[in-house]
Amino acid sequence: MPKCTINGQEIEVKPGATIMDAFYQMDQKEKIAHYCYHPALSIAGVCRLCMVEIEGNPRLQIACNTVVTEGMKVNNDSEKVKEAVKWGMDFHLINHPLDCPICDQAGECGLQDQYMAYGKYDPEMAERKVKKRKVVDLGPRVVLDSERCILCSRCVRFTEEVTKTNELGIFNRGDRAEIGTFEDRPLDNNYSVNTVDICPVGALTSKDFRFRQRVWLLKDAETICAGCSTGCNVDVYFNKEGVFRLKPRPNEKVNGHWMCDVGRDTYKPLNRDARLLDARLSEGSKVEYMIPLMGARKAAEWVREAKADPKSVALVLTGQYSNEEYEAIVSTFKADVGSDRIFHWVNNPETFEKFDGLLFRGDRNPNTKGLLQAMQRHGSLNNTWNELVAALESGSVGTLVVAGPLDLSVFPDLGEKLASFAKAKRVVWLSSGRSDVVDACPSPLIQIPMRTHVEKTGTYVNHAGIAQTVHAALAIVPKALTLSEVADVIAGRDVKRGNAPAGVGRRAQNEFTAHRGAL
């Protein structure tokens, strides 16, 4: 294990590790400028900004491609290094449009950050800037501004090494070199927005996010993506107007550095316009709205009324809730209601086992594993869907409680299932999303708004059995309930509203910091 000294600090690294690795290991990646290096991609060594001075070596070296040797003494804070980085920066800026005020990357831009640290502040270029393609529609989700591109080649390496789809390339040479796709064919793979994340400048921007918010007006908090059973670690970016985007947060065990494009959209059902805001009771043509807690009381009444014959109460669960909630609702059903008619609604039997080889899985639920574990603990794993259907057909179900989807769009069978649920005398529908299909249900139905995974603390078990606990990040529909709270109401217990967001994520204190995004 070679030892070296970096800026006076001694550190032991793995054999073969580069100086850049050592900076990362010391958690000092902010201290070294680097645009082309990315921990999850091959080394390109093209941006020439990660200059370091190595004792005994007359020339500066790049940290990303220099392997640490025993006793190496390295620094990147000498005047010589600063001078080199300053000029390197200036080269990058020769043809850069410097349109920060209208650039989406501003506030999380590698170029801005480095310029503040190493800028020359006095450009001496008298030549005209080279004009390149602007607002290039690269694909369904990504827009390119070639003038802003510094040709770090991260995006090219991403499509070459990670997705292996090879859409992107650097075409032409010299100062006319440009990022593009072969014959402008679309950059259309399920991971394309990751190129936006790794682009250190504003050359690649996300169609969905661009011009919607300045990043310094957003806070972020750690959570997971609930889009499928992979459970990618993500940061959710939001302000009081709602959630605006998700970005992956590195976790080697779960998602590496990436997330899929389908997952990027999973913030949409979190926002108010897609949400159920109040409890809604519909009986025939009569519709009544009430606060969620009152709705839950009404539901509890229905459950109690049917309880004389516990068999006439049934519970349907989807894989969209947390372990804690499953435990609460299942044990309440078993102990307090006395019913063991608990069923698992599999929304996607055809694609359930599918996997794209990278991250995205056919099971579009964050916690199917957790649900199955809870059912197993309580001995209801063997209940089959056919039993439920038979009971519904025979009219023996008095009150049916459905812990429905948080993301309605991943339940293509919603209408079909509801038609069958409507055969129960009364239906309690728990969901965070609002849907015309549900509203149209002919039998007496009460809909109760649920919190989404970013609004409550809970544990989710991914496909590989990794349990991940996430904390409440924000409250979008503050009155909405959790499944545990509904269980409390059904059981007649006091409701513990213990899940209010405990302060927002890690940037709460300083929401205007410039150092964000991964360099």
């Binding site: 070459e160 859409e167 390339g169 650097i170 032409n172 040479r173 796709t181 072969f182 014959e183």
Partner: protein, 159 residues
């Protein structure tokens, strides 16, 4: 749809076997395609090569667009390549090319003259800096130490 001849395909296969990294076979293969496709490399031709070589089209396109000896558009019978890199550039390569284009009623590099006889392009260093400015016509030997008159005369003599 462009297809290489059987000999062309065999040639490409041979190149692929020849190098440690198959990307090294891109340049000779592009030359072959250009020769068989009337002097330029069309997007269809790259698709064809990509399939033949099992190399993504974007990788081949990168090489094709990097080197000025591959033409991205159809060319004239005589393709006049004027060097505009450092020495030639300083000694009037660009101006020379503009002059020749004007004389032949051609608006810019890559365009073909009405009679189909000439096309022009700026090329990167031809490696003959000591006799700048230089030009090359098709794959023939260079014409060196050019002046406008001299270059025009050379073109006039071409049938």
């Amino acid at each position: 749809m462009f297809q290489l001849s059987d000999e062309g395909k065999a040639f490409v296969k041979k190149q692929l076997a020849r190098y440690e990294q198959k990307e090294s076979a891109i340049i000779p293969s592009l030359y072959r395609v250009q020769d068989e496709n009337g002097g330029w490399v069309s997007p269809e031709a790259i698709d064809h090569l990509s399939e033949l070589m099992d190399i993504p089209a974007s990788r081949i396109q990168e090489v094709m667009k990097f080197y000025t000896m591959f033409n991205q558009r159809p060319r004239g019978k005589y393709h006049v390549q004027v060097c505009t890199t450092l020495t030639c550039g300083m000694l009037g390569g660009r101006e020379l090319c503009s002059f020749l284009m004007k004389e032949h009623g051609v608006k810019g590099p890559g365009e073909v003259s009405k009679d189909g006889k000439f096309s022009f392009s700026h090329v990167e260093c031809l490696g003959s800096c000591d006799t700048a400015p230089v030009m090359q016509i098709n794959r023939e030997p260079y014409h060196e130490s050019l002046t406008e008159e001299k270059a025009l005369k050379i073109l006039k003599e071409l049938k």
